[in-house]
C-alpha cells in the first residue's frame, strides 16, 4: 500500500484578495481521514486544491504521485462538492449514467454505484425530490463511479439525522477497507471520533494531525472539542 496519497507542500491560496491558506504542508495516507474545523477555516479551499479546481498562488499539491488535477488523475479521484453536485431535474440513474459516460465507464457502473450507497429502489426517482440524505448519497454514488483511488467529500454528512450520519460513516469505512483513501470534511466536532486520522484546521492552518486518541491524549482531554480549544489556547500563548 502506498502510504502517502496526497502530499501538500508550501501551499498558498488567495481568495477574494485575502490569503486563506498560507504555507501549508501536509501528507495524507490511506484510511478515513477527517478534515475538521469551523466554517470558513479553509476546508473547502484545501479540498478544492487537492482535486485541482482551486487556483493556487503557490506551492505544490501531489496526488497519487501526479500533480493535482492533472490528466492521469481525472478518473482516479472521486469528488463531491459541498452541494450534492448532481442534476436535480434528472433521475438518480440518469445522473449516474451521465457521469459514467463522461468517465468512459459502462452503464453497469451506474448500477454498481447505486447498490454501493443503498439506493437501488430509488433509481428512477428525480434527484431533486429526494430527501437531503438521499441526495447526498446520490452525490456520493457519482463520486464512487469507477472505484477511485481517492475519494474527496466536502461536508457530506452536514444537516443529516444521526442515524444517517452513522450509516454514511460506516460506508466510508467500508470503502476505505476496499483500498480507496477517503478524505471527508466536516465542521461538526463530534464526527471526529469516527475517523482513522484527524486533521484539525483553523484559520487556514492544520493545528493537529493524527489518530483522534493521540490528539486527545496529547492534550490530556476527553473529547476532540476540548482538544481543539486547548490547542487554540496553546497557540495564543
Amino acid at each position: 500500500m502506498m502510504n502517502s496519497v496526497v502530499e501538500v507542500a508550501a501551499l498558498r491560496v488567495v481568495r477574494g484578495g485575502r490569503p486563506v491558506i498560507d504555507g501549508l504542508d501536509l501528507v495524507i495516507g490511506a484510511g478515513v481521514t477527517g478534515l475538521l474545523g469551523p466554517s470558513g477555516c479553509g476546508k473547502s479551499t484545501l479540498l478544492r486544491s487537492i482535486v485541482g479546481v482551486q487556483r493556487v498562488a503557490g506551492g505544490t499539491v501531489t496526488v497519487l504521485g501526479e500533480p493535482a488535477g492533472s490528466g492521469p488523475l481525472r478518473d482516479r479521484v472521486g469528488y463531491q462538492t459541498q452541494s450534492s453536485s448532481v442534476y436535480d431535474d434528472l433521475s438518480v440513474l440518469e445522473n449516474l449514467r451521465f457521469f459514467a459516460r463522461v468517465l468512459g465507464l459502462p452503464p453497469s457502473a451506474a448500477h454498481d454505484a447505486l447498490l454501493a450507497v443503498d439506493l437501488a429502489r430509488h433509481g428512477d426517482d428525480v434527484a431533486g425530490r429526494l430527501s437531503g440524505g438521499q441526495r447526498s448519497r446520490v452525490g456520493l454514488a457519482v463520486a464512487l463511479l469507477g472505484t477511485p483511488a481517492l475519494l474527496v467529500l466536502d461536508e457530506p454528512t452536514v444537516g443529516l439525522d444521526p442515524v444517517l450520519r452513522r450509516d454514511l460513516w460506516a460506508l466510508f469505512h467500508r470503502i476505505a477497507e476496499q483500498g480507496t483513501a477517503v478524505l471527508v470534511s466536516s465542521h461538526v466536532m463530534d464526527e471526529a471520533e469516527r475517523c482513522d486520522t484527524l486533521l484539525l484546521m483553523r484559520e487556514g492552518r492544520i493545528i493537529a494531525h493524527g489518530p483522534p486518541a493521540d490528539i486527545k491524549a496529547a492534550q490530556g482531554v476527553a473529547d476532540i472539542e476540548s482538544a481543539f480549544l486547548a490547542l487554540v489556547e496553546e497557540g495564543r500563548r
Binding site: 481568495r15 478544492r48 485541482g52 479546481v53 452541494s83 453536485s85 448532481v86 457519482v142
Partner: protein, 244 residues
C-alpha cells in the same frame, strides 16, 4: 475534446429539457404563438407582417436560447456539477460544444415549427427556399446559445443572468432592422448595428423573404456562424478548470 464526453453532455442537456415541460413549451410552442399573435395584430395591414415576420423568425430563437442557456449554465456553476465535471476527463470544449449541439438540435425543431406556422398557416410571403429558413434559424439559435454560455460567466445568481437580457439582447433587437430598416438609421447607429450579430441573422431572413437568390443569405449565415464561433471562443476563455 473527446467526442464521447461532448455527446454525453449534449444527450444529458436534452434529457433535462425533456423533463422540463415548461421550458420545452417556451422553446417550441411560444415562438409559434407569438408569431400568430403578431399576424393577428397586423391582420388589417398584411404588408407590415410580411416586413417584420421574417425578422421575428430570427429574433425568437436567439432570444429564448440566450435565456435558457445562460440560466442552465449558471446552474451548473452554482450547483457544483461544473466543478465536479472539471475533476473528470472533460475538456472545456466538450462542455461548450455539448451545449451548442443540444440547443442546436432543439433549434432545428423550433425553426422548422416556427417556419411551418409562419409560411403554412399565416401566409408569410417567402421567396427563398424554406429549408434555408431552418438553416438560418439553427445558426441563429446556436449564436444565442454561445452568447448565453459566455455571459453566464459574469453572473453569480439567476437574477443577474436575467439582467443580461435587457443589456445584451434588447439593444440588438432595437437595432437589427425590426423597428427601422437599418439603412434608415442614423449613421452612427447603422455602424453599430453592422457589428451586432443579430443584425445579420435578421438580414438573412429578410433576404429569404424578398428574393429567390441565396448568395446573400449564405454570406449572412457565414457571418452569424463567425459570431457564434467567436462567442464560443470567449466562452471557452471564461470557463476555467481552476477558479478563485
Amino acid at each position: 475534446m473527446t467526442p464521447r464526453v461532448t455527446l454525453a453532455i449534449a444527450v444529458r442537456v436534452l434529457t433535462q429539457l425533456r423533463r422540463d415541460h415548461r421550458t420545452l413549451a417556451m422553446l417550441l410552442v411560444l415562438p409559434c404563438l407569438l408569431q400568430a399573435l403578431l399576424w393577428w395584430i397586423f391582420q388589417d395591414t398584411p404588408l407590415v407582417f410580411d416586413r417584420i415576420g421574417p425578422a421575428l423568425l430570427a429574433i425568437f430563437p436567439f432570444f429564448v436560447m440566450f435565456l435558457v442557456t445562460s440560466i442552465t449554465t449558471l446552474r451548473e456553476r452554482s450547483g457544483g456539477t461544473l466543478e465536479r465535471l472539471f475533476t473528470m476527463p472533460m475538456g472545456r470544449l466538450d462542455f461548450l460544444v455539448g451545449y451548442a449541439l443540444a440547443f442546436g438540435a432543439v433549434a432545428a425543431v423550433q425553426a422548422a415549427l416556427a417556419a411551418g406556422v409562419a409560411v403554412g398557416l399565416l401566409d408569410l410571403d417567402l421567396r427563398g427556399p424554406d429549408a434555408l429558413l431552418v438553416v438560418v434559424g439553427v445558426v441563429d439559435a446556436v449564436l444565442g446559445t454561445a452568447l448565453g454560455l459566455f455571459v453566464s460567466a459574469f453572473a453569480r445568481t439567476e437574477f443577474q443572468a436575467v439582467q443580461f437580457l435587457p443589456a445584451v439582447v434588447v439593444p440588438q433587437i432595437l437595432l437589427c432592422g425590426l423597428i427601422v430598416p437599418r439603412e434608415r438609421l442614423p449613421r452612427v447607429l447603422e455602424s453599430v448595428a453592422d457589428v451586432l450579430p443579430l443584425t445579420w441573422a435578421v438580414d438573412a431572413m429578410e433576404h429569404l423573404a424578398t428574393t429567390t437568390r441565396t448568395g446573400e443569405v449564405w454570406r449572412d449565415v457565414g457571418i452569424v456562424v463567425g459570431f457564434a464561433l467567436a462567442a464560443l471562443a470567449l466562452g471557452a476563455a471564461t470557463l476555467r478548470r481552476r477558479t478563485d
